[in-house]
Structure formats: C-alpha cells, structure tokens
Amino acid sequence: MSKVVYEKSRGLTDAPLTYCPGCSHGIIHKLVAESLVELDVLENTIAIAPVGCSVLAYNFFNCDGVQAAHGRAPAVATGIKRVIPDKIVFTYQGDGDLASIGTAEIIHAAHRGDNFTVIFVNNATYGMTGGQMAPTTLINQKTSTSPYGRQEATTGKPIKVSELMAQIPSAAYIERVSVHDVQHIAKTKKAIKKAFEYQIEGKGFSMVEVLASCPIGWNMPPVEAAKFIAGGLMPYYPLGCYRDIHAEGGSGA
C-alpha cells in the first residue's frame, strides 16, 4: 500500500503559478495556503492581491480574492474586515507596494489596529516592472534604476519596515522571517500561522515580513539568490519578532 506523504495544499488552486524559476513567491503562497487550511478558515478568507509580481495571487489562493490598487491593499482590507469582521482577511504585498507607494495605508491600518494579516514579501526590488530600485534595495545593490549601485548620498538608506512597524502602539504582532533554506521556511510557516491565529482570536493587526529572492531581478541563479538572502539581506534586515503585545510578560519590542 502506498501512502501519501506530501500533496499540494487545497489552499491553492490548480492554476499554474506565473512566477520566475527560483522566485520565493511559490513557497510563501504554499505556506499561507497550508496555514489557512490547517486553521480551517480557507473558505471564509478573503485574499487581497497587490500590484506587482503577485498581482494574480487571487488566481492562486483557493478562496475569495480581491485585487487592490498599488499600495492600497491595507485600506481595501480595512473596508472588507470592518464590514465582515468574522471573516479572515489578509493582504499579500511586495516591498514596492507596501514600503513605497503604500506607506500611508500600511501605517494607518496598523495604527487603527485593524484586525487583519499582512504578508509582506521583501525582495529588495521591483520585480514585476523589471528590477528597479526599491526603498528596500541595499546600498551598492545594482538595479535597473541604480545601474551603478544604490548610492546612500542620493537615495538614503534602505527602509526597515518591521522595525518601523514595531513602533506602532496598536500593532499586535510584527515578525521578520526568511525562506532561503528549509529550516527558515519552517520558521516562516510558524510565523504566518501565528499571525492568522492572532487574527482569528481578534488580537489585532499582524504582519509577517518575509525576506525573499528575485533571481531574475537580481541577475543571479536561484541558488546564489538564496545565498544572497542570507549573506546580503539578513545582515541589514535581522530576523526576529519585533513586536508581540501578547507575548508572555512582554508588551512588544
């Protein structure tokens, strides 16, 4: 008798993913989908897709889906969650979407303590539009709009979103994770599931920042790109829980 040891989560549809080889979105989609299924909320969830590489996320998550304007997903999520508070709502946003054009929306959703979950995928570039410089692009990192490498003198230092969000009094849970190897993928799953659990329990705003690769945008083979997450991104973007107002004895970072 053969035994099923692994199968695709029913939290994902059968639509073929549109992501590039080596891109982290597929892994992160899987972790989100598995979490929703394991928590038994998939059919009662609304996924909000951003503008960017994951613009078609509503084709992949096997639940209701809404596509939002660039950066506006947290405002759309607020509109939905406030009128159907017993349903599960999450936004799935990249760093161009969340950390640049959508800074007002993300910060104020957290400030209001709106009870939804944000999956923030930080790959330090605008992938969809062809690998331009993002607010999260590292110093000296070459992109199509920083062809000689990002210069601090003219563009400042990369924005640290989790650290920034951790300062927001009404935010419940902020954690930065990575998906560059199996061990970290497991930790990411744990963080995503915890964020949804917080939402289910009505604890308030939760965000998981996932450091992710963009082999095409970074001009690197996938294995090298995974190594760049660990060696390039992680030193500047340290992993860890930045805020957890409900942690044992803790009141946040």
């Binding site: 059919e43 009662n44 209701d64 889906g65 405002a75 759309v76 509109g79 406030r82 009128v83 159907i84």
Partner: protein, 351 residues
C-alpha cells in the same frame, strides 16, 4: 411632517435610512457635517464609520466594503475628489456599487472653500484612467438631496456601478424644510461578492485586471452595454420650456433656482424664457435640445464655472441654435439680475 435640515445632514441621514452600512471619509470643507453626522449615527444603526488616513484611503476602503457586498458611501469635496479618482477608476473596472458625494468647492488646486460647479468635467468625464462613466446626480434642493441618495444607492446596486451625487457647497450648507420620505432598497443579486462564504458557493474574485487584450476589450464592451441601459432608463431632466419661449436657459443644481428667478424677472418685461435642468449630468439629456418648441431662438447656459456643461449643451444642440454662456467662478455666485441682463443682451443682439 417636515423637518428643517442642512443639505449635508439630509444626505447623511438619507444614506443611513437607505441601508448604508459603511461610511469612510476624510475631513475637508464644505462636507465636514457628513462624516461628523456619520460618526455620531452609523454605529447605532448597525453600520461602520472609519475616518480614513486620506481620501485615497477612504475610496479604497469603499472598494473593499463594496467588494464584500455592503451598501457603502464616501463623501468629499473637490480637491479630495481629485485624490479619489484612482479608486473610482478601479471601482468602475471591478463593477462595484457604491455612492460617492462631492460637495463641491472652487478650484483649481486648493482654490477656495466657496461653492462652485467647476468639477463638472471631473464628475462626468472621469479623472481616472480608462474607458468609464458613472451616473452623476445633481440635486437643487435639500429635498432632492434626500431623494437622490436613495435613488443613487438603488442605481448603484442595480447596474453595479459607483454613482456620484454632485452638489455645490451652497446646498450642503443650506437649511430647508425636508420631508423624510423613506423607500425600501431595490432587491439585487449580490452572489458575485467576496464576503468569505466560499464554503456555500464557488469562490469569487473582484478585479479590474486582465492581461489579455480580447478579454479586457470584451469587459469594456460589456460595461458599455450597461451604460447604454443606464442611458435608456435613468436619464433625469426637468424641462419647463414652453411654446412661446424664445430663450432656453440651461442650469443645474442650486444655480438653476437663481435662473428661475431671472426667468420671472424677464417675464414681467415680456421676454419669455424657460428652464432646462439636467438632474443626471451623466447620462446627459442631449435629446431635450432636439425637441424644443419652434419659438426657441437661443440657448443660454448658466454655470458657476468658466464653462464646462456648456460643452455638453453644444453636443446636444448640434448647431441648431446659438449657444451662449454666462458663468461666475472662484466662489462668486450670480444674481438673477445678471442672468436676466445676459438674456436681454442675447435677445437684443438677435433683433
């Protein structure tokens, strides 16, 4: 029994009575009474009030609440409406019903807080990207503000479109006697909505995106078929031009009432004029200009702008009559005597 109420308050209460369950807004003069009213009353009526971080935030919250199938409304004033245009384009693209109110002030830019009608192009032609329209209702009394809120929600639900109520700050701030007539909301199928009930039906998606030319083209063609239906069914115009009138004055909103005073003044001296008052600015009642009495020789458009609706009048007139224009702007409001003087000038010029 009639009550004395401000236009802004009438709009707020009418929305609640029409079943609006979510209001998202941002402070801007001269519409502040609406979010203030909603912050007092929405929760008690089982609804939601959120003061958004910006007009951009508010219109996107509307996009969300409308996706979830709930009657929702946002209000603003001219510069704030400019910020909402991106969201309105998305709402049209995703076929979502909602009501938007613009208590208009003068522009461009920060302009001023005094009333104006210079958002006609923004309202009827759209400031957002892409091929779209939305029904635009222009009340001229507080009573009509009340009635049109119920109607705007119904039209929005029926055709899955945003609807806009456009009034001058003047009307928003003015108190008038009001009959608070209720009417039940139209019943529509909202099985398309993303309300997180995919265990009871196939999953739903709300999006304006299509990367395939033929698919997106078909979506646009289908939407324009709906626009044809709206044009056929929802046109609203008040036409008091009668046989013997030599001038037809075209005005909408509160200025149409000033035009009526001018018409009285002119009648006393034997100059006969009538009023055409479009209530829907989109769809526009172009046909009205093709069926005027044979006595009509001139059309005068009176607007609180440098001349915007006058372009639609010219489209409707199709060169059949000379189209004249009289406008005040920057918050200045014309007196009946100014319109009457313009009519005298036109009539004399013709002789």
């Amino acid at each position: 029994m009639k009550v004395l109420m401000k236009g802004n308050d009438a709009i707020s209460e009418a929305a609640i009575q029409a079943g609006c369950k979510a209001f998202f807004g941002y402070p801007i003069t001269p519409q502040n009474e609406i979010p203030e009213y909603m912050s007092r009353k929405m929760e008690a009526s089982g609804g939601v009030f959120v003061q958004a971080e910006s007009e951009v935030g508010a219109i996107n919250m509307i996009y969300g609440a409308a996706s979830a199938g709930v009657r929702c409304m946002t209000t603003s004033s001219s510069p704030g409406m400019a910020l909402k245009q991106e969201g309105i384009s998305y709402i049209c693209g995703a076929n979502l019903p909602c009501v938007i109110v613009n208590v208009a002030r003068c522009g461009p830019g920060l302009g001023g807080i005094l009333p104006a009608q210079s958002d006609y192009f923004q309202s009827t032609r759209g400031g957002g990207n892409g091929d779209y329209y939305m029904p635009v209702f222009a009340p001229s009394t507080v009573q009509e503000c009340w009635d049109l809120v119920f109607h705007a929600f119904d039209v929005a639900d029926k055709y899955r479109t945003p609807t806009l109520i456009l009034l001058e700050g003047l009307l928003g701030q003015m108190m008038e006697p009001l009959e608070m007539t209720k009417r039940p909301p139209v019943t529509v199928d909202k099985s398309w909505c993303t309300d997180g009930n995919a265990d009871k039906r196939p999953r739903n998606v709300v999006t304006s995106l299509s990367l395939y030319a033929e698919v997106l083209e078909q979506m646009n063609i289908d939407r324009f078929k709906v626009y044809e239906e709206i044009t056929k069914n929802e046109l609203m115009v008040e036409n008091s031009v009668k046989d013997g009138d030599t001038v037809a004055i075209v005005a909408y909103g509160t200025p149409s009432r000033i035009a009526l005073n001018a018409i009285e003044e002119l009648a006393a001296e034997g100059i006969n004029a009538g009023l055409i008052r479009p209530i829907t600015l989109w769809p526009y009642p172009y046909e009205v200009f093709q069926n005027l009495p044979s006595s009509v020789e001139h059309i005068l458009v009176a607007e609180l702008s440098m001349g915007q609706m006058v372009e639609d009048v010219r489209l409707g007139v199709e060169g059949k009559y000379p189209v004249h224009f009289y406008g005040r702007t920057g918050g200045s409001i014309f007196e009946p005597s100014e319109i009457a003087a313009k009519v005298r000038e036109i009539v004399k010029g013709a002789k």
